[in-house]
Amino acid sequence: MTTAAPHARPAATSFPTLFALSRSRTAIEIKLFFRNTDQVFFTFLLPVLFLVLFSAIFSGDIDAGPGRRIDFPTYFLPGIVASGAMSTTFVNLATSIAVEQREGLLKRLAGTPLPREAFFIGRLMMAVVVTVAQTAIMLVIGVFVYDVGTPPTPERWAFFVALLALSAAVGAVLGIAYTRLIRDARSASAIVQPPFLVLQFISGVFFRWNDLPPWLQAIATLFPLRWIAEGFRYAFLPDWFGKFEYGDSWGWQLPLVILAAWLALAFALAMRFFRWDIQPDR
């Protein structure tokens, strides 16, 4: 222990730029994510597990007439990519931020000159990076193990990349806003998982969209996961299938527009309701 005074303040004092701070936050978030081995394991393994299990259980092809057949893994992969993106962003952020609120990390950050935007951007970028890594793993397994095709044209590839980024952003920002509903970090999973689970069932992830009753389809249409799932199918699957399964909404426009609207809404909700410091006012 030394009591020598640290050296004096340099003359020039200007704040680091938002870009530098966001980069620093992103780097530390990614570092934290990969050091949490349980989290890494489940984030990357769970979607793979779903792909393997569901492909084993539902082995039948989808048949829509002569020359119009796709096998189950081909149908299922886009849905599980959609669901994985939401899980990595929405579920992970909502629960981990709730824990950080409880442990006082956010209060600690709020006491520094770090702009809130840098915190949000760091979180968002981490979610995007992890989602991209997870999706890449899914694609590799899909292509090499299940012989699933990739997006057929450069345009579809471009759409796929844009959709992936947009989905991750929507999930991340929604997760940040959703923490407002979590009163106690110990119950975070109980508040976050059920709605996500229900949405997976009714959004055409685990069960075929066409097999769902119209009223469930109507409910799912209100939420982003259905549009993310449809979007990824548009990127991967042939057009005849989309018309058969989704009808008029099939295309790149509607999912992008609706998800962009969701992103704006989620951002407004997060800015309005996010609490840096959970603290019962006495």
């Binding site: 222990m1 030394t2 009591t3 640290p6 340099p10 704040f15 006082g104 000159p113 603290q279």
Partner: protein
């Protein structure tokens, strides 16, 4: 706003619904001063400090900290204050060096990361992950994060809770090194000794009011409080009544105690009297003045009695 005072608070109020947590506090803290806040749990200490830190909003009165309204929480203002919260922050997965370096990046002119880690005594734990640190070592990380931005004013909310006596003394040294640079410290603590050793002035918050402010030597009239002269009075001393010395006397279980404003004169007269009775020494004689702790406890107790009295009406 005039910034001639590090902290200036006038009529500060905070209500939670119908409950008044702070009932109009007036206080000024000078630049370079170490100010300690004492008070029982629930008296409003943390509410008061968190308003000054910009975490909570006041419901009435005025407050400036380093010339700024803490309610605005401006970024350049945030860069000039350091905060050590009551509860340690959890950075389990990062090393000491990573955490401190990361926080250093938030500030326009941070101190050297290695210097600060050395200053708080964590040199050997630099590359150790925070989940491997002891409670006291985590507290030092908190202190390092409060210091890293090179603040002009630092808030320390019960900084030594959980530290062993050695760690406590080391932290006091850090605070002294910090104030030697002319910087201001606002400290809350449960350790009266800590306030006495570190603080230039002490304030006592009881039931949302600033019950007393003063230097540790004179708080609550301590400087002018009566001294107590005590001695054991066996045999010839016990048989006779004490002579006409100044002060009130009392005898209990063979010990005489005299509360007096003039202890020197009291002892002189007592000694003469004892000689006539064959005692060159007054057995077990002591002269005591109330400690800061005595004064503080008395304040808290009498305030408690008043509150109960009000509740009865």
């Amino acid at each position: 706003m005039i910034a001639d005072r590090a902290v200036r608070v006038q009529g500060l109020r905070k209500e939670y619904g119908s409950f008044a947590a702070l009932k109009g506090i007036d206080l000024e803290i000078a630049h370079g001063e170490v100010f300690a806040l004492l008070g029982p749990n629930g008296a409003g200490k943390t509410t008061f400090v968190e308003i000054l830190e910009g975490y909570r909003r006041r419901t009435g009165g005025a407050a400036t900290v380093l010339g700024n309204d803490p309610g605005e929480s401006r970024r350049d203002w945030r860069a000039r204050i350091g905060i050590v919260l009551q509860a340690s922050t959890v950075f389990d997965l990062l090393t000491v060096n990573e955490v401190v370096a990361h926080f250093a990046g938030f500030y326009p002119a941070p101190l050297d990361v290695g210097d600060v880690i050395g200053l708080v005594g964590l040199d050997e734990k630099r590359t150790v992950r925070c989940d491997k640190l002891s409670g006291g070592q985590k507290r030092r990380v908190d202190l390092a994060l409060g210091l890293i931005g090179d603040p002009d004013l630092i808030f320390l909310d019960e900084p030594t809770t959980g530290l062993d006596p050695e760690g406590r003394h080391q932290l006091w040294d850090v605070v002294r090194a910090f104030t030697a640079l002319g910087k201001t410290v606002v400290l809350t603590t449960h350790y009266i000794e800590e306030a006495e050793v570190l603080a230039d002035r002490v304030g006592v918050i009881i039931a949302g009011e600033l019950a007393a402010v003063g230097t540790p030597r004179e708080l609550g009239g301590r400087k002018t409080a009566l001294a107590t002269v005590r001695f054991e009075a066996p045999g010839a001393l016990a048989a006779a009544p004490p002579p006409a010395v100044p002060g009130e006397w009392a005898r209990r279980d063979g010990t005489v105690s005299i509360a007096t404003a003039a202890p020197t004169e009291t002892v002189r007269l007592l000694t003469e009297w004892a000689r006539t009775r064959g005692f060159d020494e007054l057995p077990a004689i002591t002269i005591t003045r109330p400690s800061l702790e005595d004064i503080y406890l008395e304040m808290v107790e009498s305030a408690g009695a008043v509150t109960e009295g009000r509740a009865d009406q």
